[in-house]
Symmetry: C2
Subunit: 252 residues, 2 copies
Amino acid sequence: MIHINKVGDLTGVTVRTLRYYDKIGLLKPASKTEGGHRLYTNEDIKKLQQIQFLKKIGFPLHEIKNMLTSSEWDWSESLKSQLSFVLKEQENLKKIELSLRELIHGIALEGEENWVAIQKTMQLSSKDKEMKQLYRESVFKPREIKLWKKVPNMTSDSPDSLEWIALIGQLKRYMMEGPKAPKVQNIIRRMDEKRLEEFEGEDEFLEKLWKIRMSPKQSEKLSLYPIDQNVLEFMEQAYAFFLAEKNNPQAE
Amino acid sequence: MIHINKVGDLTGVTVRTLRYYDKIGLLKPASKTEGGHRLYTNEDIKKLQQIQFLKKIGFPLHEIKNMLTSSEWDWSESLKSQLSFVLKEQENLKKIELSLRELIHGIALEGEENWVAIQKTMQLSSKDKEMKQLYRESVFKPREIKLWKKVPNMTSDSPDSLEWIALIGQLKRYMMEGPKAPKVQNIIRRMDEKRLEEFEGEDEFLEKLWKIRMSPKQSEKLSLYPIDQNVLEFMEQAYAFFLAEKNNPQAE
DNA sequence: TATATAAAATGACGTAACGTAAGCTTCAAG
DNA sequence: CTTGAAGCTTACGTTACGTCATTTTATATA
C-alpha cells in the first residue's frame, strides 16, 4: 500500500492530479485508511503509467477512461483516428511555420518600424494558395515550373533565399546614395553572381519573371512578396550601370 | 457603420466571439446605437482580420492585444519565439505519430483482443530512446548500422515494414497448423524472397540480428518489438523445412 | 499520553476562448 | 403600433489541472 505522495515520486504526477483522477473516476485508489487517506497498489501504479502514456499521445481523459474500463474498446479504431488527427495537426503547424517565416523575412526586408511588411503578409496569407499554383502553371512553361522552385521566396529558410532577402534589404537601405554608389554596386555584383550560379542560361525565364516583378498585381497573384516599385526601378538602374561598367572598365 | 451579424458574415467570426472580443477589450466597436447595439467600421474589420491571422498562427488573445495596442512591440522577437515554439510542437507531434504507428502495428501483430501488444508498446515507449541508439552502435559495425535502417520496425509506415508485420501476423494465426502446412510455407517463401531482396549477401548481419531476436531482453534493448519466443522458434522450424524442400524438391 | 508538526483531505476559484441557453430589450418592417 | 427578428447581458459548461484556504489525520517527540 503506497501513500499518495510516494506515488507522485514514483510516477512524476502531482498529488493534485491523483486526487483529480480519483474524483473523475479515472483512477480510484485500491483502498483508503479509516481517516480517508488514499492508498495505492502496484496495480494502480501500472494503470497510472498507462494513463500517462495515452495522455501523452493525445487522448483526452474521458476517452482514456473508456479505453481502460470497457473491455470491448475498439483500440484499432481510435488509434487510427488519433493518428489521422495528429497528421492533420502537423500539416497545420507546417502552414503556420511558413506564415511565420514569411513574416520574419518580411520584417527583415522592410524593417521593424513600419507596419507595411506585416500588413502585406497578412493580406497575402488570407488568400487562397491553390489558386496561385494554377495561375503559375498558366503563365510558365512546364520546364520553367521547376525553375520556379529556385526563385527566392519569403517562406523558405534556405541560405539562398535568406541571402536574397538580405541583399534586397541592404539595397533599400542604401537607395539614397544613388545607383552608382560603391556599396550599391557591390550588392548588385553579388546579386549578379548569384543569378549566374542559379539561373545561368535561363534568360527567357528571368525576363518573364522580371516583367511580372515590375507589376505589383501580377506579383501578388504569384504569391511573390510585393517589392516596392521604386526599389525595383532603382535595382534596374543600378544593374544597368553595373553592366556598363563591366563592359567598359576604365571609363569614367 | 456595420451591424454585428454583418461583420460575422464578412469575416466568418461568430457574434459571440465579437462580443467576447469587445468584453476583453481586444476589439471595441467604433460606436454603439443609443439602444446599445454595436456598430463597426471598416477599420474595425481590418483589425479583426489581423486578429484572425495572428490567432491562426498561434498567438493567444492577450498577446495579440498587446501587439496591436503597444506601438513599441518587438515583432521580430515574438515571431521568432513563436516559430521556435511551433517547431518544437512539430517535433513533439512527430514522436506521438511514431508511438501511434507502433501501437497500431502492434495490434496488427497480436490481435486486438489481448492486451499484450498495447502493454508491450507502452512499456517500450516509456524508456529512453537515445540509450538504444548508443547500444546499437556498440553491437554492430559501422557498415551494419546502415543496414539497420532496413530492418522492419514498428514505427515505419513503409510498404516493406508493413508487409513484414502482416506476414508475421499471419504466421501466428496459422501456427496451430504446424510448420509444414502449405499456408505457413507460402508465408515463409514470401519472407525468404523479401530477405533476398533486401539483405542479399548480408549473412553475417542477419545472423547477428537473429541471435538478438531470439533473446527478448536484447531485442528490447534495441527497441525491436518483442516477438514471442514460440513464434520465433516456429519460424525457425518452418524455415528449416522450407530449405530442405527447396534442396530436395520431389522427396516426400 | 499529550502535543507539535508534517502531510492529507476537501472546497473553491482561476485558466482560454468561446458555445449555448435563458430572459429581456431594441430595431426595422408592415 | 405591433410583431418578429436580432441584439443585449448574465451565467454556466468545457479541459486538466494549479493554487490557495481551511480542516483533519498520521506520526514523532517530549
